[in-house]
Structure formats: C-alpha cells, structure tokens
Symmetry: C2
Subunit: 200 residues, 2 copies
C-alpha cells in the first residue's frame, strides 16, 4: 500500500486500513487488556480476515507501539509548543496543561492505553521512559515558574507536576466527549490548578 | 480460629495469618494482575502450602473482596467523619480530601487494587457501585460549599469532584512512603485544590 508507514507521520494521515486496525486494536486492548486480545479478535471486530490484518501490521506489538506513539507524540508536541512560547514560565505551564487536556480528549483511547502500560516488554519500558521525560519537562516548567515568582514558594515542583497530571490523566477514567466540552474542561483544569476552587 | 471473620472488623485486628495472606495476595494482584495470580503463588510467596491458605480463605475472590473492603471502608469512614463535622461545607470538603490522602497513603496497595477494578465480576461491580456512592458524596459537598458561597460559582461540582480525586488517586501511581510525607502531601493536595499554585 503506497505511502503507508509503520508509524503515522506527525501530521500525515496514514492509510485508512491501518488506521481502522489501530483503532479497533486500541479499543479491544482497553476493554479486555493487551494480553487478552488476539490478532484474530482484532480482525473479527472489523469483519476482516486475520491474514488481511497481517498484510498491514506485523503483529500486536506493532499496534501497541503505534498507539503509544500516537499518545506520546501529542503530549510531546504540546510540551514543544509551550516551551517555544515567549512568555513567563507560568503562562507556558498553563498552555502546556491546557493543550494536554485537549490532547487527552482528542486521543482518549490512545492515552488510556499509554497510562495502563507497566513496563512488561521493551515497547512498554520505552513508553515509561518517554513518560518520565515528559514529566521532567512539566516539573522543570513548574520550577522555573516558581523561580520567576509566579508559583508559590514551598510547593515541591515534582509533586505539583504529578498532582496536576493526576487531574489531567484522570480524564481517561471519566471523560465522555461532547460538543464544546473539551475546551471548557481545559479551562476548568487550568483554573483549578492555578487558582483553586475557593471563592476570593 | 477464634474471632476470625471473613471481613476484618472495622477497628479489630484480624488473625495474623489472614492478614499475611491478604497482604501477599494484594501485592501479587497489583504486580501481576488479579487474573494472572493463583492461590498457589500466593501461598508460595509466603512459604506456606496452598492447603494452609485454604484453611483461612475460600479463594481468590474472597481476597479481592477483603482488599476492596479495606480500601473502601477507609474512604467511607473519611466521608462519614467529614459529613458529621459542624462546620461549613468547604471545611468539611477540605477535611474529606485531607483524610482521603491519608487513607491512600496508609492503604496504598488496597486502594491501588480498588482503582484497577473494572467490573468483570459481581465483587468488582459492587466495588464500582460503592466508588460511585463515594463520588456522589464528594460532589454533594462541593455543591453545598458552592451554595454557601465558599466555592466559586460556575464550577461544575461533579467535574470538580472528579478532578480533585484525580489528584488524590494519582498517589497510587507515584507515592512512596516516607516519614512525615503523608501529612505534608495532604497539605499540598488541599492547598492546590482550594488555592491553586499561583502566587497572590
């Protein structure tokens, strides 16, 4: 199939067939667990044969890698964009949180899978390393915002980063897409992270 | 064995043997997954025979139920105590969040297991119902605090409740016990939830 690659290009659109197989696989991985999902079931859920799936995909692990890439690339792009902004670190952090919420709502199934990865294979261990790199970038922004006086002193940057992304990542447990919901939710998360719930 | 029950009494101390089996089981469930853990492995990890485990415990499902009870009873007690306080709803909510953080740090392995339950069995479905009841109590407190003017208007109470417990529950992903750490962490979580990170 022309133009098809193992990994979707950053902004390119991969072949429809691979896209359909990937979406079906991620849905089944999330519903039943990666270990409990077979290539046969993925094919069956699409009403195609297993051999036509293997025509495009080398196996389950490739699907897992593609799904993890889809989730992580969105978050890494969000971090790249935030860091490139010419603005105080507090605003860059706010932008990163806002964009991360939007990435999660847009790539919900992919991020859900990413967050369940526990390092049992080389692909999963690499995913954990990339998650840690992302966390370190969030922590660095919190630290910088604190140094610039935008964030209260006395807050541990790594703890703050973990708690904020605890909020953000919880979306995979309860968010259900609806029109306009993602932007409003991004506002709520950033408002809570920066100003809290209390009336003032 | 005298005084031993299927479920540990609220404040009683269950027999040492059951406690040891429960702790070993929860450790293995969390590390390898409930479905991938056998009663033989639980016994083996304690250096005892499978039949001596069955002397105390009817099977894996009972261990799952006990672990879930241990997690949920801590959270339900926290909600009971908070609701019984004679104080504005905002303070009761703050107390509930603070106590929930402490419950999580004290019962980390049990809550970790609870949060991974996805409703595949009757025991798991009941756990999900009880989690939803707890969430509803948090949402009701947020709503009441808002009605009393303590929480900013315009924040959706259910969303706020989910985001706050997104922070709290994320502890199961990253918290490592250390002396004095739990109380400081409870302070950080409540400060972030109510006042946010921003300097003012």
């Amino acid at each position: 199939m022309a133009g098809m690659t193992d990994r979707p290009a950053r902004r390119g659109r991969p072949g429809h067939d691979v896209e359909a197989v990937l979406n079906a696989a991620v849905r089944l991985f999330n519903a039943n667990g990666y270990d409990f999902t077979s290539m046969f079931e993925i094919a069956e859920s699409l009403g195609i044969t297993k051999s036509s799936v293997y025509h495009h995909i080398s196996g389950k692990e490739q699907l897992l890698q593609m799904a993890i890439d889809r989730a992580l690339e969105g978050l890494v792009e969000a971090a790249d964009e935030a860091e490139a902004m010419e603005a105080p670190a507090l605003e860059r952090l706010e932008q990163l949180i806002r964009r991360s919420v939007l990435v999660l709502t847009e790539r919900l199934e992919f991020v859900t899978l990413l967050l369940r990865v526990h390092g049992n294979t080389a692909v999963e261990q690499q995913a954990l390393r990339r998650r840690r790199d992302f966390d370190a970038r969030v922590t660095a922004l919190v630290k910088q915002a604190q140094a610039e006086g935008g964030i209260r002193p006395g807050v541990d940057p790594a703890t703050a980063a973990r708690l904020i992304f605890g909020m953000v990542n919880s979306l995979t447990e309860w968010y259900r897409p609806r029109r306009g919901g993602a932007a409003a939710l991004a506002d709520t998360v950033t408002a809570l992270a920066f100003d809290g719930l209390r009336t003032r």
